[in-house]
C-alpha cells in the first residue's frame, strides 16, 4: 500500500477503536447492573454469543459454557436469570481493557479486547471470577454498532463454583 493509504487505514482503525471502546464500556456497565434485558440489545438478531474455556477452544472442542445462536436464545437466558434463577447476592465489576480494532470491511468490523470480571459475594473480599479475551465481529446498523459475534475465550477454566451472568 502507499504510505497515505496506510495512514488512512491507521486513522480509520483508531477511530473504530474509540467507537468500540464506547460500546464496550456501555456494555460492561449494563452487565454490572445485571440488566441482561438491555444486554441483549447489544447484539444483532442473528448474533452468535459464545463463552468458551481456553482449553476447549485450543483443543478444537466446541462446548461452550454459554452458547447462544441468535438473540432469541439470549433473551431466554436473560429471562431465566431475572425470573427463575436462584443465586447468592453479588456485585459484579467487569473491566474491559486493551480494546483493538483489527479490520474494517465495509459495514463489518473485527475487534478484540481483554476482560476481567471481579465478583464480590456477601461478607467475602473481591476476587477474580474470570479473565478472558473477546473476539468480536461488529456491524454498523445505521450509525450504531451491534455485535454480530462475540467469542469470549476465558483463561479461568477452573470456574469458582459457577458463572451466573454473561461476560
Amino acid at each position: 500500500m502507499m504510505a497515505t493509504a496506510i495512514q488512512d487505514k491507521k486513522a480509520a482503525l483508531l477511530e473504530a477503536r474509540m467507537e468500540i471502546e464506547e460500546f464496550n464500556y456501555a456494555y460492561a456497565e449494563t452487565l454490572d447492573a445485571m440488566d441482561v434485558d438491555r444486554w441483549v440489545e447489544y447484539f444483532t438478531d442473528d448474533a452468535f454469543y459464545h463463552v468458551i474455556a481456553r482449553d476447549n477452544a485450543e483443543s478444537g472442542l466446541p462446548l461452550g459454557l454459554i452458547y447462544c445462536e441468535g438473540k432469541a436464545m439470549m433473551k431466554d437466558r436473560a429471562y431465566a436469570l431475572l425470573n427463575t434463577e436462584m443465586f447468592a447476592p453479588r456485585y459484579l465489576h467487569l473491566s474491559i481493557t486493551n480494546t483493538r480494532a483489527l479490520s474494517i470491511d465495509g459495514k463489518e468490523l473485527t475487534a478484540a479486547a481483554n476482560y476481567t470480571l471481579i465478583e464480590t459475594l456477601v461478607e467475602e473480599t473481591s476476587r477474580i471470577q474470570q479473565v478472558g479475551k473477546y473476539r468480536d465481529v461488529f456491524i454498523r446498523d445505521n450509525g450504531k454498532l451491534l455485535l454480530k459475534e462475540r467469542i469470549c475465550t476465558y483463561d479461568s477454566v477452573m470456574i469458582d463454583n459457577c458463572l451466573v451472568f454473561p461476560v
Binding site: 483443543s59 462446548l63 436464545m73 429471562y79 447468592a88
Partner: protein, 423 residues
C-alpha cells in the same frame, strides 16, 4: 409457640470429635461433611477400597498414545491408551523423587519423561529409562542390581463398560456389572449403549462443598421440582411426570429417571401451591433448546445416575455427560464435567447438543442453582452450631416411582456408615 426450639447451652451441639452415628436413620450428622479425619478415612475405606472409581471416557483417549490427567479420589492419575489400544491408569508421581510430572490436561505421547531428571515411563507406567544409569566414564549411576521393573508407577486395575472407564486398587474386584447391580446396570446400559461417542468438551469447576453433597443432590428428586423453576416451568421435570428412582440393593448407587410430558406440564393447583416458584406463563423465544430427538432405547427421556463414589452420568433429552467428583479435603471438591455426543452426529445434531447444554454446566440454569445451593449447605454445616440434618421424606419400602422422598439419600448413607465402619 414461643419457647419451642429454644437454644440452650446444653442443647444438642455434638462434639464433632466423637463420631457416633445417630440411631435414627433419618438423621444425618454434620461431621461427615466437615471433619478432616472422616475425610482421611474415606480415602482408605472408599477411594482405595472395594469400589470402581470413574476416571474417564474412552472417547477422551480414543487413539493409541492418547492420555488425560484424571483422579482416583484425591489422587492424581494418568489415564492412557497404549500402542496396543489397552487402557492404563497409574499414579502421576515419579518413582524417583516424587514429581507430579504430567501437567497437561490431555495429549498424545509414546512415553512420559519426568522433567526433573528425565526418568522415562511408557504408557503402561513402566520405568523404561534412567539417564546416565551407568554413570559417566564408569563413575556413579544406579546400583548394578537396580531393577527398573521394581520402580514403575503404581497402577490401578482398569475396567470399562459402554465406553466408561473405571479404576480400582482392589485386587479381587467384581465386574462393573456386578458392582452396579441389575437395576442400575440396566439404566447405565441404556445411556452407554455401545454406540461410539464423540467428545464435545470439558467443564471444570471448584465447588466449596463436600463431595457427598453432590451425590445427594442428584439422588434428591424433591429439590428438582422446587429449586429448579426452569425445569418445572418447561415440563422437563415436574411432580406429575412419570418418574422412577431405582437404587441398587446396597443403596450406594441410584437413578433419577423421568419421562418428559409432551406440551405444557400438567401441574395440579394443589401442587402449584407447593411450588412457590412455579411460573405458568414463561415461553421460550427459541424452543430449539428443548427439542428432543429420541436417540436411545429407553422410556426415560431423563436419566441421572449416581454411581458411588464419584461418578454421575446424565442423559437429559439430548444432553449426554458424565461428572467426576474429585475431593479436595472435606470442604471442597473439583468437578470435571465431560460432555459428549455420538460419532455419527451431523453438524446440526452437534449444534443441537451444544445449544441444549446451555441448560446445564457451571453457567447453566440448573448448574448455577445446584452449585449455589450446595455452597449454602456447606456454609451451614461448616459455620452453624452442630445439628443433625434431616432426611425424613418417603419410606424405605415405598414404590420406586415416589418422588417426594429422600429414600435414596438414606440408602447411600446406610451403605456409607457401613463401609466407613461407624458405630
Amino acid at each position: 409457640m414461643d419457647g419451642d426450639n429454644r437454644l440452650t447451652a446444653n442443647s444438642d451441639r455434638h462434639n464433632s470429635t466423637d463420631h457416633t452415628w445417630p440411631t435414627d436413620e433419618t438423621r444425618i450428622p454434620d461431621w461427615i461433611y466437615t471433619d478432616q479425619s472422616v475425610y482421611e478415612r474415606e480415602i482408605d475405606k472408599i477411594f482405595l477400597g472395594r469400589h470402581w472409581n470413574y476416571v474417564g471416557l474412552e472417547c477422551e483417549v480414543s487413539k493409541p498414545g492418547n492420555y488425560i490427567r484424571s483422579y482416583v479420589g484425591p489422587f492424581p492419575v494418568i489415564l492412557t491408551r497404549d500402542a496396543e489400544g489397552e487402557l492404563h491408569v497409574f499414579e502421576n508421581r515419579c518413582a524417583h523423587r516424587g514429581v507430579e510430572f504430567c501437567r497437561e490436561y490431555r495429549g498424545t505421547a509414546d512415553s512420559f519423561i519426568c522433567p526433573y531428571h528425565n526418568w522415562t515411563y511408557d504408557l503402561k507406567g513402566n520405568l523404561t529409562a534412567i539417564p546416565f544409569r551407568r554413570g559417566v566414564k564408569g563413575k556413579g549411576g544406579a546400583p548394578k542390581d537396580f531393577d527398573m521393573s521394581d520402580f514403575g508407577l503404581r497402577r490401578f486395575h482398569v475396567a470399562t463398560r459402554g465406553g466408561v472407564i473405571f479404576a480400582t486398587a482392589c485386587d479381587d474386584m467384581e465386574s462393573v456389572e456386578e458392582y452396579l447391580g441389575p437395576e442400575i446396570c440396566a439404566e447405565f446400559d441404556a445411556t452407554f449403549d455401545g454406540t461410539e461417542f464423540k467428545l464435545l468438551g470439558i467443564h471444570r469447576n471448584i465447588l466449596p462443598s463436600n463431595w457427598k453433597l453432590y451425590q445427594e443432590n442428584l439422588k434428591d428428586p424433591y429439590h428438582a421440582t422446587l429449586l429448579h423453576t426452569y425445569l418445572t416451568t418447561f415440563g422437563l421435570f415436574v411432580s406429575s411426570n412419570e418418574s422412577n428412582i431405582p437404587t441398587d440393593k446396597t443403596g450406594r448407587h441410584g437413578g433419577l429417571l423421568s419421562r418428559r410430558s409432551d406440551g405444557r406440564p400438567d401441574v395440579s393447583e394443589e401442587d402449584q401451591a407447593s411450588m412457590q416458584a412455579f411460573k405458568k406463563t414463561m415461553k421460550l423465544h427459541d424452543p430449539r433448546v428443548l427439542s428432543f430427538f429420541r436417540e436411545v432405547n429407553s422410556k426415560w427421556s431423563g436419566s441421572v445416575l449416581t454411581i458411588f463414589p464419584t461418578l454421575t452420568a446424565l442423559r437429559q433429552t439430548n444432553i449426554l455427560n458424565t461428572r467426576l467428583l474429585v475431593p479436595r479435603g472435606p470442604n471442597e471438591f473439583m468437578m470435571l464435567w465431560t460432555v459428549f455426543g455420538r460419532v455419527d452426529d451431523d453438524d446440526e445434531m452437534t449444534r443441537h447438543r451444544l445449544r441444549q447444554n446451555n441448560i446445564f454446566g457451571p453457567a447453566g440454569f440448573l448448574g448455577i442453582e445446584d452449585n449455589e445451593a450446595l455452597k449454602f449447605l456447606q456454609d451451614g454445616v461448616r459455620k452453624a452450631m452442630p445439628r443433625e440434618g434431616l432426611a425424613v421424606l418417603g419410606e424405605d419400602d415405598e414404590p420406586t416411582e415416589t418422588i417426594i422422598t429422600e429414600r435414596a439419600i438414606r440408602g447411600m448413607y446406610r451403605y456409607y456408615r457401613d463401609v466407613m465402619e461407624f458405630g
